[in-house]
Symmetry: C2
Subunit: 354 residues, 2 copies
């Protein structure tokens, strides 16, 4: 990933053990970072969506445990921080996966040895995350390259780019890979109400020099019906063993419209986003977020200063489910670090060597 | 319709021939009116969406011709105003219908007699529009009343209430009729990006005391899939002879999700919204509106003053189609002033007595 032409990641550590993150609540208007000095700060960063995207939530949670152990390496402190971090957001399964992995790694060690081991484990987890995303880019490249149209027309929803991961992204990794390989790509970017993560995608694509067009989410069906999309490519917060996909609210509508138009609908899913303990996507907990996310918008005033705007009066009744579930039958294939697989083949793909 | 408990219409005339309208660009935050004194002002009101909704666009265009004739009752002035008004917006067919009807009525008359005849014709057109909407309410009532759940759960998109018509509304007429009949109703209101006409619907329902919940458009599929909707009810800007429905962008996605959930999808369509000259909905011209409708939002600042907010930087590439087409096969039935009819029966319903 590049910001203003400079290679970076979405989070990095300092010699004192603190963790610096990009504050995504200030993007795309301003590139600002936040320094996390405690597990509580990591909880706040996840809950307030300073960091978001299932893989990045997992990475931040892992470092949240590191920060907790840095303050107190006891069993009790480890358990308490893991519980608090797990409670920040309910849908993305990477969160639980990262916490369990790091906890299992450090719990058998004597407390004084835990801090260094935790940081090493979190760093390895991030490096593996980056490698998984890079591999998703490789495996996804042929899906774009084989399209007859140039530029190939990709439609995405939400942000499953490098801002949702440590680097590369999931759904956008094949886009960046294709762009680097000289395959002309154009991306239709749904703004992704209510939190407008599509604006993050637009900004990210702009930083990478990939052509894109921002649309209201409502326009996705029209573009698909009119033959203006070659493939859909989205991320996932949690995919079940049979291939039901929880992802940002509105993804299911895109999948329905893709099916109606005969356009392939691909889900970029790194292994840690797959919940092998669940089959039926309807069992995935769906986060209900604050009404003000729908009612109040944040952006820039005409003078460029940060500003908020009420679209509806306070007290307006609002429902705000943050995710929906796309059933496996609407998914053409998953793009994973191990290759591309139809929903029915997903289990076999991951069973082969684990 | 009632605003602050007082019965009114969305437009009315004054003794001097000027026409007063509710300025819908200032709703829901402020109830303000605009006085139209010329055909140019009527054109501006339609183009800028001070008035919107297919039936109200038709009524305003009819009065736009009256205002043109009031200034100059010549053939040339009549033709020029009709051309200018017809060019304001391309999708809603009521616009053309109203202009043709009023032009045909006054053109044979000697110029001095045209002004009074035009106002009488426009007034009759408005009264008939109100009567059509009232009848749609009556015919739609049983669709709501027969639902087993109380309150019956209706999902709508955009605003097809009294703000989109002269009074009553189209899609909301059955809701108001049911509410008046003591049938408990709850309405899920999609915010309808990019112009957020759902906020008009929320405000309207609030004025009428009908319970509602505002949602991001993206949430419609989730609510339908989870069994939280009994029926969908939307309006139309233009419906073809075979029943393809052009309506606000995003309507097609709702129709797809309703079909997938086995929930009926009804379209409230007054006769003047049906374009008998077209069969294939793909032939309906789809208006492409300004990029800033997606990029910039208008609402209220924290201090209550009108404010605008940029969600994305100027120059962000945007596509902004204002309508999409729902194919007839996704429409359970049309609710018209003549009764309820499946798409295949629509022609017969209107052929009976015309």
């Amino acid at each position: 990933m590049r910001i203003a032409g400079r290679a970076t990641r979405t989070l990095w550590t300092h010699a004192d053990g603190t963790v610096e993150i990009l504050d995504q609540t200030r993007l795309p208007h301003e590139v600002a970072t936040v320094r996390l000095e405690s597990a509580a700060a990591a909880c706040h960063a996840i809950r307030s969506m300073q960091v978001r995207g299932a893989p990045l939530i997992g990475a931040t949670a892992a470092y949240g445990l590191c920060l907790a152990l840095r303050a107190d390496p006891s069993d009790a402190a480890l358990a308490r921080a893991a519980t608090e971090l797990a409670a920040t957001r309910p849908t993305a399964v990477n969160l639980r996966w990262a916490l369990e992995r790091l906890s299992a790694h450090v719990a058998p060690l004597p407390p004084p040895a835990r801090v260094a081991a935790a940081y090493a484990c979190a760093a390895a987890l991030c490096d593996e995350e980056v490698e998984r995303c890079r591999a998703i880019g490789e495996h996804g490249l042929p899906l774009l390259a084989r399209s007859a149209r140039r530029p190939v027309q990709v439609l995405t929803h939400c942000n499953a780019g490098w801002l949702a991961t440590v680097d590369w992204g999931t759904a956008l990794a094949p886009v960046y890979r294709a762009h680097a390989a000289g395959v002309p790509v154009h991306v239709w970017v749904g703004e992704t109400r209510p939190r407008n993560q599509g604006l993050l995608t637009a900004w990210e694509l702009g930083e990478e020099g990939v052509p894109y067009t921002l649309i209201a989410d409502n326009a996705a069906g029209h573009l698909l019906a009119r033959g203006q999309v070659d493939l859909c490519l989205v991320g996932t917060d949690r995919t079940t063993a049979r291939g039901d996909v929880a992802n940002k609210i509105g993804t299911y509508l895109v999948a329905l419209a893709a099916r109606a138009a005969g356009v392939p609908f691909y889900v970029a899913a790194p292994g840690p986003s797959i919940d092998w303990s669940l089959d039926d996507g309807r069992a995935i907990p769906i986060e209900e977020r604050d009404a003000d996310e729908v009612r109040v918008l944040h952006g820039r005033a005409a003078d460029g200063r940060p500003a908020s705007l009420a679209l509806a009066p306070a007290g307006t009744p609002v429902a705000n489910p943050a995710f929906d579930v796309t059933p496996a039958e609407l998914v053409t294939a998953f793009v994973t670090e191990r290759g591309v697989a139809a929903p029915a083949e997903l289990g076999r793909l991951f069973a082969e060597t684990t």
